[in-house]
């Protein structure tokens, strides 16, 4: 980089910075769960409308992330994990991130409403609003229950996807919502266990900072137990077939082993492992739902 532009703010944002502002890693999971809802819903969408729905869910996720980056710029600068975010480094001004996020949110909701239906658009608006107002602005800096309640926002995309196809909500998308909702706390607490100094420095009251590591590990074990039970519900209630049942059992055992290791051997290595395995677990559960649905269609 030329010396004149050593200062990141002077250099200005690269196109890639706007992409990073939308937290593409989070968007990937949101998209996958949203597509799961779209695919499992009864009825068929025209491919163009399906593409529009997927785009709206992705853009909605990016909008919420951009607004989160705007509000959290002060604490993002203090944490190792987030200090290279475009707003934290100054490559994108916080106000620009806010404007970008609001524009994307309006775009996503309006296109969802006009191209699909207003139930899905309302749910998408609620999801973005919940993430911004309830999680980011209200809970994140105030309570260790931040990601327990705030996790609802991340769990809603399959419901949005389902509503985009059917114009309503049913039991199966609510079960997927429940699974993601229960998955979120142990996932983030595993991360917080090995990033607790980061969160403490930024003054974010994550559970390990407020209650300590042993209490957090207890919570991870308890939530995982409830999560694994909830993951069985789609099969128990006969919404899915044997492929999902077997996959949920295997993935549950795999995740449980790593949570057990975190409990027995509390160290950074087991916490990182539990965090990574939780991601594999959720992707696996969603993939199993899709595979089960595909197999049912194949045999019928």
């Amino acid at each position: 980089m030329p010396a004149t532009f050593a200062n990141a703010e002077l250099a200005g944002p690269r196109t890639r910075d706007w992409w990073l502002l939308m937290k593409p890693n989070v968007m990937r999971l949101v998209l996958f769960s949203g597509i799961t809802g779209l695919v499992l819903a009864p009825g068929a969408l025209h491919p163009v409308l399906l593409l529009a729905a997927i785009l709206c869910i992705a853009v909605g996720s990016g909008a919420a992330a951009a607004i989160n980056n705007w509000y959290d710029v002060d604490i993002d600068r203090l944490m190792l994990r987030t200090r290279l975010r475009p707003t934290a480094t100054g490559r994108i001004a916080a106000a620009d991130a806010l404007a970008f996020g609001i524009t994307l949110a309006i775009f996503a909701v309006m296109v969802m409403g006009l191209a699909l239906n207003w139930v899905a658009a309302g749910l998408l608006a609620f999801t973005i609003g919940f993430y911004v107002f309830v999680y980011t602005l209200w809970l994140k800096r105030r309570t260790p229950q931040n990601i327990v309640i705030g996790g609802a926002a991340g769990a809603l995309p399959p419901v949005v996807g389902w509503a985009a196809v059917t114009g309503g909500v049913d039991v199966l998308p609510l079960l997927i919502f429940l699974i993601i909702f229960l998955w979120t706390p142990p996932h983030f607490w595993a991360l917080a266990l090995y990033r607790s100094r980061d969160y403490a420095a930024a003054g974010v009251p994550m559970l390990p900072v407020v209650a300590g590591a042993p209490a957090t590990r207890w919570h991870v074990v308890a939530y995982t137990a409830v999560l694994l039970t909830a993951s069985a519900l789609p099969a128990v209630l006969a919404y899915t077939g044997p492929i999902y049942a077997v996959a949920a059992l295997g993935l549950g055992a795999y995740y449980a082993v790593h949570v057990w290791r975190l409990w027995r051997d509390p160290c950074e290595r087991t916490a990182i492992r539990a965090f990574k395995v939780s991601i594999v677990y959720l992707f696996g559960i969603l993939a199993a739902l899709l595979a089960d649905y595909g197999a049912a269609g194949w045999w019928s």
């Binding site: 980089m1 030329p2 004149t4 532009f5 200005g12 690269r14 196109t15 969408l45 025209h46 163009v48 409308l49 593409l51 529009a52 785009l55 296109v111 006009l114 191209a115």
Partner: protein
């Protein structure tokens, strides 16, 4: 500002403008297709 940095900024602006153009063209095509589908009643 040196010639090198001016060139650097010019290239960056050009890349950004092309990216914006791509996004706008993509949106025009998407809205066009959505309109066709909705008018056609293929919902």
């Amino acid at each position: 500002m040196t010639g090198e940095t001016a060139e650097f900024r010019r290239r960056r602006l050009r890349r950004r403008n092309l990216a914006l153009l791509g996004v706008l063209l993509g949106l025009v095509v998407l809205f066009y297709l959505i309109t066709l589908v909705k008018i056609g009643g293929n919902v």
